[in-house]
Amino acid sequence: MRILKNIWAQLHRFVFWALILSLLWAWIYTFVGDTTRDKKLILCVDAYALEQRPLALRLEDECLPAGIKMIQVRSFGYDFLGTELEGDLYLMKASILEAALTDTPGKLAPLTLPEGMAGYTREGKTWGILAFDPATQHGPAMDYIQYTPLPDPEPEAYYLCIDAASPHYGAQDNAAWELALAFLRID
């Protein structure tokens, strides 16, 4: 009884320190749970619904290129393309891709696709790999990404694009391309 009375008398201190420590650890873990840009790959997805963490975990299990410690999956909207958005890969609808090529030229990298891989081509260059095909209604990682709203009479194609400024795309470091292939393999 006395212990309970003592606890009750100090309740404000218990609550205060619980709050302070929770906030402190949450703040510390925002740094612990992140890494430098050169050690992580960022996949930005513009879809109707997205399970970010499970997809990131699946991608880390499927493919963690050399030198990469973490894969982040983020949700993004078209508006973000004109900002300082730092992504390596973007999964977006065909209509968004068209607008992005017009409004933010130079944002996306032209791609060289291997034989048998469909892509989005404009002005003789390929800008995206076909991820979700509206004809077959099938795309990669459908357990994590909702490509079409329900019901959608005219679903749109989704393309996977690579950021031209990505530090992981090029002759030296091709981790973004490896991640793109791993993403497309997820059933």
């Binding site: 003592n6 100090q10 320190w17 929770s22 650890w25 949450a26 873990y29 749970g33 975990l57 894969i71």
Partner: protein, 170 residues
């Protein structure tokens, strides 16, 4: 009937020892909790980050609550009681004899001990004095008619009056 001291040297020594021991254990607990949290944080990966965060919060909050509880009720209050007792140790003693009533009123001296007010019905009239709140129960058990020895109005020792009388009668 012998005089019962409320702050005999053995009691004060025991209190000081207990206070030191608990203080050391609390430092140890804080260091251990911090070490465990650092180890957990170093083992973070994408799969376990939320579990590790939760574990760190639970460990640090649990340790903080234990430290707060024992830090206040053993270390701080023990230190205050020791300081209070040492302050009274060499003061001039006065005695009050009569019917003792323990009043429900508790008085907390700022940054010091909490006291219980007493009223002693002496031959000269009622006199008020104070006793450490944890020692009030001891006085209650001793009975209503007591001789209280006080320093600066604080009770430091007591003696049963009936026993005195029975010794005096023969």
């Amino acid at each position: 009937m012998p005089i019962v001291e409320l702050y005999p040297p053995e009691r004060l020594a025991r209190l000081a020892r207990r206070r030191r021991l608990v203080k050391g254990l609390l430092y140890l607990l804080a260091a251990a909790a911090l070490a465990v949290c650092v180890v957990l944080t170093c083992r973070v990966n994408t799969h376990n980050i939320y579990d590790m965060l939760l574990a760190c919060i639970c460990i640090s909050v649990g340790a903080a609550w234990i430290i707060i509880y024992f830090g206040i009720y053993v270390v701080r209050d023990g230190g205050r009681e020791l300081a209070h007792a040492r302050h009274l140790a060499d003061g001039p003693r006065e005695s009050l004899s009569g019917q003792v009533a323990i009043l429900p009123l508790k008085v907390r001296i700022r940054n010091s001990v909490t006291l219980r007010k007493l009223r002693v019905e002496t031959a000269e009239g009622p006199v008020e004095c104070s006793v450490h709140v944890d020692r009030a129960e001891e006085l209650r058990r001793a009975g209503p008619r007591l001789t209280l020895y006080t320093v600066h109005g604080y009770v430091v020792a007591w003696q049963r009056m009936e026993e005195e009388a029975s010794h005096a009668d023969p």
